[in-house]
């Protein structure tokens, strides 16, 4: 196929005509807003598909009440409960009702402890986000730093060492890494606490706060007590490290591959031919174009961190959404599981949207 419409301006003689409809400098074009709107609208089908899949998969082989309470209640009692909750109606009716409730922000009530799922999300959400945020910082520092070194020193000893480290990072299941860290730093060396988000004393301090955010680091700063802050950070180091290193392994690989690919591209060679130093080639010429694919995949990884939080929180008894999810899983409380999973699905979609917009902001081909 021929390249569509490339050289229009060139068909004109030696002095090419000034082009008529070129957008002006630094003004974000209407095309970009269109992109953002279209991309935003794409979230809706994504969430809808995920909600649908989650709903039907969870309900494919039975109702949640039998799963949670079967064996503990008599068949009659069970039947009564099922009827009361409406689980004996056609699945499609229940699905429509569920979608309706979802639009109103109602995710149902847990079976085992009879709490609205939304309450669980608000109560435990902060802990998970705090963990994910700390882990992300670790992953970004380690991943970008080491990834760039590896790309620069490609095929030499530092590259080999960094790659081995990266592969080890993602070959190690996060819960095993957690156990190892616990064993070494808490049990054998006794440097750091082995579980929980803070000590009892700190918890009592938090009780004095008028408006606790649930983010312990912020709360500790509110209190202004360095001892509490230190305690919170000590508790956070190991879980954040376990979750962060897992993601760092992926980031290293991602950064390395993409930087190598732009580092060997024509435009970097052209810049080299003009005498630009290797250091600057790496930090500017190769880095910015590499950033576009890197950010896209990083966004996906951030979403995946929320899933990685499940075993991490379980290992460290970090009372967040992941810990609750695993608790409800053990209790076979599928209403709660469904609610938490759907929340994660929504977060995943939104994060991916934000990431696409950021990478479009970097890429002038989308921006204009």
């Amino acid at each position: 196929m021929e390249a569509k419409a490339t050289a229009e301006a060139d068909a004109s003689p030696i002095k090419a005509k000034p082009s008529e409809t070129k957008p002006k400098k630094n003004r974000i074009s209407s095309g970009f807003f269109k992109f953002v709107v279209v991309r935003f609208l794409l979230i809706i089908p994504t969430i809808f598909i995920l909600v649908t899949i989650v709903f039907f998969v969870m309900r494919a082989t039975g109702d949640p009440i039998t799963a949670a309470l079967g064996g503990r209640l008599t068949p009659q009692e069970l039947q009564a409960r099922i009827h009361q909750a409406g689980y004996d109606r056609p699945l499609i009716v229940q699905y429509a009702e569920y979608l309706g409730d979802l639009l109103h922000g109602d995710l149902g009530t847990t079976l085992t402890d009879n709490q609205p799922v939304t309450t669980i999300l608000t109560r435990y959400g902060a802990a998970t986000f705090e963990l994910a945020f700390l882990a992300l910082i670790i992953a970004l520092i380690v991943g970008i730093g080491l990834g760039r070194i590896a790309a620069r020193r490609r095929d030499h000893a530092p590259d080999a060492a960094i790659r081995t480290f990266a592969i080890l990072c993602y070959a190690t299941p996060v819960f095993f890494l957690g156990l190892l860290l616990k064993l070494i730093f808490s049990i054998w060396l006794d440097w750091l606490p082995s579980s929980g988000r803070s000590s009892l004393e700190s918890e009592m301090q938090f009780g004095r706060l008028v408006s606790p955010t649930g983010f312990y680091i912020i709360d500790a700063l509110q209190l202004g007590d360095p001892a509490v802050l230190l305690d919170v950070l000590q508790h956070a180091i190991l879980p954040a490290l376990a979750l962060g290193l897992l993601t760092a392994g992926v980031f290293i690989r991602l950064v390395r591959t993409n930087v190598i690919s732009t580092y060997t591209s024509g435009y970097v060679e052209a810049a080299r031919s003009r005498g630009v130093s290797e250091k600057r080639l790496l930090s500017k010429h190769a880095w910015k174009p590499a950033l576009i694919p890197i950010i896209t995949v990083m966004g996906m990884q951030i979403a995946l961190m929320l899933a990685g939080a499940v075993p991490t929180e379980t290992t460290f008894e970090w009372k967040g959404l992941g810990f609750m999810l695993s608790t409800y899983l053990k209790a076979r409380d599928f209403v709660a599981v469904q609610g938490i999973v759907i929340l994660i699905a929504i977060i995943v979609s939104v994060v991916n949207f934000i990431v696409d917009v950021i990478s479009a902001l970097i890429d002038p081909r989308v921006r204009y």
């Binding site: 089908p45 994504t46 598909i49 995920l50 989650v54 998969v57 969870m58 082989t61 039975g62 799963a67 095929d155 590259d159 080999a160 790659r163 592969i167 080890l168 993602y170 070959a171 190690t172 299941p173 996060v174 819960f175 095993f176 156990l179 190892l180 616990k182 064993l183 049990i187 082995s194 579980s195 897992l246 993601t247 992926v250 690989r253 591959t257 190598i260 690919s261 060997t264 995949v297 996906m300 990884q301 979403a303 995946l304 961190m305 899933a307 990685g308 499940v310 075993p311 379980t314 695993s326 899983l329 053990k330 076979r332 599928f334 999973v341 994660i344 699905a345 995943v348 979609s349 991916n352």
Partner: protein
């Protein structure tokens, strides 16, 4: 090459020194059938660190495969055995000793035996998961990519949605659906395997579809269309084989994810019951409280087993990925100026349109145009 032939055809003798050596080069580069086998070929072209990685990976994979096959001979006890032959119950949480070289668990299992048997479960799970997801994913990708249209669009949106969703959570959902959270005997392995299958179908689908869409526009598919070949013939004879070139890479990388997902399921209590088979994730789950008490042997051994098997598979996958991408591949420096004059004016690895590259092999030669198998490693959140 062609210039040389044209010259020879019309004038006989070569005009510049170097022509004659080309003939020798051609003879010596004929590769044997053995040399064309997938892994062997990669082993031949790999150098330096890359070779080291590939060899290490292959050794680790081979080791675990052997352990899986000969588990009954290697393991001193059964995976669910808690009494010795005389009916004497094993001690619980016993430190490594002569009878139990890696100690025993809280349930009285022999850690060494459980770890050995676990290799078998892992290998079976990989095989089930990879075989099923490859089959379905490739088929869907081929059909969807070639025909396009609204079926394609719907499949892509679904695959993208599922792909962006954390695979461990998806596997949990599938496990709930398949076994409703209660794993029986072999059903346990299969429900884990199938959960993993469903999770990875979108990945194969996306890869194959991308390849097919790219190739659909390529000249050799167009030439098949212009000849009048039927759709079936184009798909089976021309597209299928050519679009599966990047599969070995994805396959290995996904196998390692499959193990991590299986272990993650086990760790969260959705895996295989201990009486049905030995599974490392379950063992790690049981060892969480042991660790707090300073009992290290129940966690370390199954954990290291997971790390090593995933490490082995990942090393193989990473090496294959690097070798299939000319930009990532390492080559030796010649050291001195030697060799024959070749019909490439520049380094073939950087020049896409060197029309006369003659001595490249079918995979690497075309890999110039093939997008690097950008197997986005979807992360192992387990």
């Amino acid at each position: 090459m062609s210039a040389a032939n044209a010259a020879k055809a019309s004038h006989g003798a070569p005009t510049v020194p170097g022509d004659d050596r080309l003939e020798e080069l051609r003879q010596s580069t004929k590769t044997s059938f053995f040399g064309k086998l997938p892994i062997i070929k990669q082993l031949r072209i790999a150098v330096g660190w890359q070779k080291g990685m590939l060899v290490t990976g292959l050794i680790l994979c081979g080791f675990f495969l052997l352990v899986a096959i000969f588990a009954p001979l290697i393991a001193p006890y059964g995976y669910s055995q808690i009494k010795d032959a005389s009916g004497q119950a094993f001690p619980t949480q016993a430190a490594p000793s002569a009878e139990h070289i890696w100690g025993t668990t809280v349930g009285g299992f022999d850690v060494f035996s459980r770890t050995v048997w676990g290799a078998r479960t892992a290998v079976i799970a990989i095989i089930v998961a990879v075989l099923c997801s490859i089959f379905v994913g490739v088929l869907l990708g081929l059909v969807s990519g070639y025909f396009g249209g609204w079926v394609d669009r719907v499949l892509v949106v679904i695959a993208d949605a599922v792909y962006s969703f954390p695979s461990l959570l998806l596997a949990i959902l599938m496990a709930i659906m398949i076994s409703h959270g209660q794993s029986g005997l072999w059903a346990g392995i299969f429900s884990s395997g199938l959960s993993i299958t469903v999770v990875y179908i979108p990945q194969y689908f996306r890869t194959i579809r991308a390849e097919v869409v790219r190739m659909k526009e390529s000249a050799f598919i167009e030439s098949a269309r212009v000849i009048g070949a039927s759709t079936w013939r184009i798909m089976t004879k021309h597209l299928l084989k050519n679009s599966t070139r990047t599969l070995p890479v994805i396959l290995t990388l996904n196998s390692s994810e499959a193990i991590l997902t299986l272990a993650g399921l086990g760790f969260l209590g959705f895996g295989i019951e201990p009486t049905a088979a030995a599974e490392w994730g379950y063992d790690l789950n049981r060892s969480v409280s042991d660790v707090t008490a300073g009992i290290w042997w129940t966690a370390i051994f199954p954990g290291v087993a997971i790390v090593l098997i995933v490490l082995g598979i990942t090393l193989v996958g990473e090496s294959l990925n690097d070798l299939s991408d000319p930009r990532l591949r390492t080559r030796k420096s010649a050291g001195e100026v030697i060799g024959s004059i070749e019909d490439t004016s520049v380094d073939p690895s950087t020049q896409k349109d060197a029309a006369e590259v003659v001595f490249t092999d079918p995979n690497t030669g075309d890999a110039n145009e093939a997008p690097a198998a950008n197997t986005v490693n979807k992360g192992d959140e387990s």
